[in-house]
Subunit: 289 residues, 2 copies
Amino acid sequence: MLGAIEAGGTKFVCAVGNEDGQMLERIQIPTEIPEKTIPMVIEFFKNYKVRALGIGSFGPLDLNEKSDTYGYITSTPKPGWGNFPFVETMKKALNVPVAFDTDVNAAVWGEFLFGAGKGFNCLYITVGTGIGAGAVIGGKRLHGLSHPEMGHIFLRRHPKDKFEGFCPYHKDCLEGLASGPSIKKRWGIKGEDLLEDHPAWELEIHYLAQALLQYILILSPEKIIMGGGVMKQSHLFPSIHSEVKRLSKGFLTLPPSEIYIVAPGLGDDSGILGALMLAKEINVGNLTN
Amino acid sequence: MLGAIEAGGTKFVCAVGNEDGQMLERIQIPTEIPEKTIPMVIEFFKNYKVRALGIGSFGPLDLNEKSDTYGYITSTPKPGWGNFPFVETMKKALNVPVAFDTDVNAAVWGEFLFGAGKGFNCLYITVGTGIGAGAVIGGKRLHGLSHPEMGHIFLRRHPKDKFEGFCPYHKDCLEGLASGPSIKKRWGIKGEDLLEDHPAWELEIHYLAQALLQYILILSPEKIIMGGGVMKQSHLFPSIHSEVKRLSKGFLTLPPSEIYIVAPGLGDDSGILGALMLAKEINVGNLTN
């Protein structure tokens, strides 16, 4: 039995399952302060004999294994979670090996193994409370100096857009202009309640297409998977594809929209399934070492 | 004996060498039309018994081995080189296996194996006649849907800059605003002749730093190597590092300038040495298949 946590800004999804990616039990726990949330998480896993735990977490995270603060959530503005030693806490509580990566790297890992990204160099982007992306390249999750922070790239302003932006660091980076909260702040209505012909979508499509164009020029993914609350509006997919083509001015030859820019194959389970497979990876690693 | 070609827009560097990266002989041939240049290239290699050939070429290229036009230079505006079957031509002439990649992927490969990028997830950017970049991630050169085209990302305009840009596709993408020819067109002076206090550099630093910031947010490289004619101005390195930090607004923690944004460890030989190692790779692959 393996354990998995998808740690998000509003909820923790916890699950147990097997090495084939079959989930046997799962619960959701609201993300409050760690002192409230974490004991409930531990309680859940104590009911099962898990051999390893995989965590996909909101960030930023310290993923450098040589660092003193490896396994921490680092500088998040989220109350109580700054400098939280996530890996250490779970290791102590459960006494099992713990694998740790970003929420979006867990999601892209799930999609690469079982979903829409199967076998591809692929990118998973979530557009919701925040914007983030993870990538699998050559069968490995993309890390480097740190983990990518693709939600914070800079864009050119749409000429009609006077909104100052909502990112606490950069104001009008991608996340600051196109996340769920920025849509709500700009228009006074939640993204999910906006009709398909609302002018909000012209801006949203323009910004997401600009971001995708940068990702394509830099990473050249074979498949782009878009998830998160905002992307439940399925009319966005073909429109974003057209806008990427328009912005690239004939420079790029892209596969057709329906096979290139797609919804997650695993629905809302990309992250938790990916986290389960992180547990598998560290469990295998542990046995062979 | 292995053969290597670094095919650039103004010259071809051809070399023969061994598997350890020692070059035994090399020549330069001007890049004219293929009918003039290629026979001289073939002539050079016919003097040696090469077992395999590695090519790092200006692009765009077709690198998809399943494609009918694999090994072609595709849509270049360079007279005579559009739809040129580079790999096929060389295979027929020399009757050896031919490895093929972009000029910048060859350069980053050389730097990764022998130069400033040794052992790192690294990025090589050339800023010269054009702007392009290649990356090594997890010990492999980055490819995907196609090869990256990092020189064509979009930037925000510097408020002082009224120059329309020089890219035939996008006008004011990175290459259109910051390549050698765009400096010359904007200021009427070649980059190499501009003094260190010329106002050109404020713009150049701003644009290159913006590009690096996007690359860092998306790829998270552990080492950034900057080559090409414009980067011979060594005062640019620390200034670009400072500007990346300023633009990131405290969001990124970067290693110090002198170890993070650096000149090529192989000087002008990154590309030709990388191409030689491409030949090694395909030769080994051939023996074991």
